[in-house]
């Protein structure tokens, strides 16, 4: 399952944005991820797909070092992720924080700059400008001063995306950014993903809507505790592989897979 479709911008033989070798994670005794190995190509949008409890979020958190792994190695551009933190942007699940926190949208986006600031320095005019630009990229500049609890779910998601943009990273992890968002936000996210791709950034997205996988992602990673399949979407996102990953619970998928005429939401 190796990947051979190279990226046009790659003139030197650069290290892969993310290379994971033999990663295993266990909660208590039960393995959640077993012996995961893969490498991603620069400038791709990669969808991570799998049933509930397959370890999709866990894979992301383990790659970011947010939870301990029992074995394996994670390399970001050829070095351990701990040395490459400034190259990594992260969009956690929206439900993972309390949105009643006393702060506004701009302030949350500014948190994306904290990693670039010194230990005691406060974000200044330059950081604010970067944060405002990130907000306008997700269509949220009118809401900069809005208390975050007064934003809709989709707007909150866009604030999280803007925070990741403000990180100015090269490799992005997004944990279910499309979960429970409105159409406007979904469109904003897709536009953003395309723009990141154009800038040569690599984005790994935990995704659960199988119907849109073919439209959104260059590569897919099928996961169910073990790595089931990984490669270009056209070759990998097949009925057979999905059956294997989801264990025969996928009759409803037949339709969406058999209709190659689904328009790709870019050129509207």
């Amino acid at each position: 399952m190796s990947l051979n479709h190279t990226v046009a911008t790659k003139d030197t033989k650069a290290e892969a944005p993310l290379a994971i070798h033999g990663l295993s994670v266990a909660y208590q005794k039960k393995p959640v991820l077993r012996n995961i190995s893969f490498e991603v190509n620069e400038g791709e949008l990669i969808g991570v797909i799998g049933p509930n409890g397959a370890g999709k979020s866990t894979l992301m958190k383990a790659a970011l070092g947010l939870i301990p792994s029992i074995a394996g190695e994670v390399l970001v551009y050829g070095k351990p992720y701990k040395q490459q933190r400034k190259l990594i942007g992260y969009v956690p699940q929206r439900e993972s924080v309390d949105w009643d926190f006393p702060t506004n949208a701009l302030d949350v986006v500014l948190m994306g700059r904290y990693g670039h600031l010194g230990w005691f320095r406060r974000p200044g005019a330059k950081e604010k400008a970067i944060a405002m630009e990130a907000l306008s990229k997700v269509g949220m500049s009118d809401y900069a001063d809005r208390q975050i609890s007064q934003l809709s779910g989709g707007q909150q998601q866009r604030v999280f995306l803007a925070r990741a943009l403000a990180q100015d990273a090269k490799l992005y992890f997004m944990d279910e950014p499309f979960a429970g968002v409105d159409a406007a936000t979904e469109k904003a996210i897709i536009t953003l993903l395309q723009e990141l791709k154009l800038q040569g950034k690599t984005v790994i997205v935990v995704h659960h809507d199988l119907a849109t996988v073919q439209d959104y992602f260059d590569s897919v990673l099928l996961l169910n505790v073990e790595l089931q399949a990984y490669g270009p979407t056209a070759q990998t996102f097949t009925q057979e592989q999905l059956q294997r990953t989801y264990g025969g619970r996928l009759a409803f998928l037949d339709r969406s897979l058999q209709s190659p005429s689904i328009p790709d939401g870019k050129g509207e």
Partner: protein
């Protein structure tokens, strides 16, 4: 009632007044972070857990000194937090249950030790039982100096590490992702809470000291949507409570300072719940009424129209 100024002409009262005000500021400031991290009860647990530490420190040295008590209370507070962490990690119990168990266990041990001290032959034991409910009147100049140092330390650390404390309170996962040592920062925050609690025990007592951590912070939340302002307001509310507590208890005979301070903080909380802008009950009611009236005004022509039609029928 005396005026505040005549009360402050008494040098003894000056110390108590200053001590209680500083205590209010310290616990108000640090309490914001424990409230936002959903650990309001942690202060209570630490306070109760401090009691056996204070007793053991006294039994080992036979000296009543805030500094020694701080070490004893800090150590037993540390053991208590590790205990809570251990229970939540290794059992199916949630944190609130673990806190309840540890809190009462340590407090029980503290009471037993306190009784042992009172019936034992420790010379200078008088007043140790005051740690249960506090005795602000016993505050002397050296205590106020300790309190000043504690207050200065808390404010300095919270100012310097404001963005770190903010992000670990809002989104610890993201903080870890950008490389902040979240575990260290959490321990530091815990340590600052222990310091505030121990500094407050003498004045307010083990049982009530947590109120000064929680109540001003919750009250401040009603007045602002900005963390920076919330921390400042919470410190001011704490200070006002401490000042009011000293003043009232000095003016009305036989009222204990600590509990009156807590009552003053509770009164401020009540006012905040009622009158806080946007979040307060009154503001919410007014808002609902305004929306309702606008709705009625806008739909009036329609209603009238339908009534006329019905009348015509």
């Amino acid at each position: 009632m005396d005026t505040i100024w005549s009360m402050l002409s008494d040098p003894n009262m000056q110390w108590i007044f200053l001590g209680c005000t500083l205590l209010g500021i310290s616990s108000g400031v640090i309490g914001c972070f424990s409230y936002l991290r959903k650990q309001s009860l942690m202060g209570d647990t630490l306070a109760h857990a401090a009691l056996p530490g204070i007793c053991i420190a006294f039994m080992l040295t036979g000296v009543k000194s805030i500094g020694l008590f701080l070490i004893g209370a800090g150590l037993s507070g540390l053991i208590a937090t590790f205990g809570i962490g251990y229970i939540t990690r290794n059992s199916k119990l949630k944190q609130d249950a673990a806190m309840g168990i540890v809190l009462s266990g340590f407090f029980g041990l503290g009471i037993v030790l306190l009784t042992l001290i009172q019936h034992g032959d420790y010379g200078n034991q008088a007043g140790l039982d005051k740690f249960l409910f506090g005795q602000a009147a016993s505050m002397i100049a050296s205590d106020v100096i300790t309190m000043t140092i504690v207050c200065g330390l808390l404010i300095t650390v919270c100012t310097l590490l404001f963005k770190q404390f903010k992000i670990i309170s809002f989104d610890p996962g993201f903080a870890r992702g950008i490389g902040y040592p979240v575990a260290f920062l959490e321990q530091l925050l815990m340590l600052l809470i222990v310091v505030a609690v121990v500094a407050g025990i003498q004045a307010v007592g083990v049982v009530l000291v947590a109120a000064l951590l929680i109540t001003p912070a919750v009250s401040a939340r009603y007045w602002t949507d900005r963390l920076g302002l919330m921390v400042v307001l919470s410190g001011l509310f704490g200070a006002a409570s401490g000042a009011a507590g000293t003043w009232i208890s000095a003016s009305v005979s036989n009222l204990p300072t600590g509990p009156v301070t807590v009552l003053a903080a509770t009164l401020l909380f009540g006012l905040s719940v009622l009158f806080g802008p946007t979040r307060g009950l009154l503001a919410k009611r007014l808002m609902r009424q305004r929306v309702k009236q606008r709705f009625i005004r806008e739909s009036e022509p329609l209603v009238k129209g339908s009534v006329k039609k019905e009348a015509a029928l």
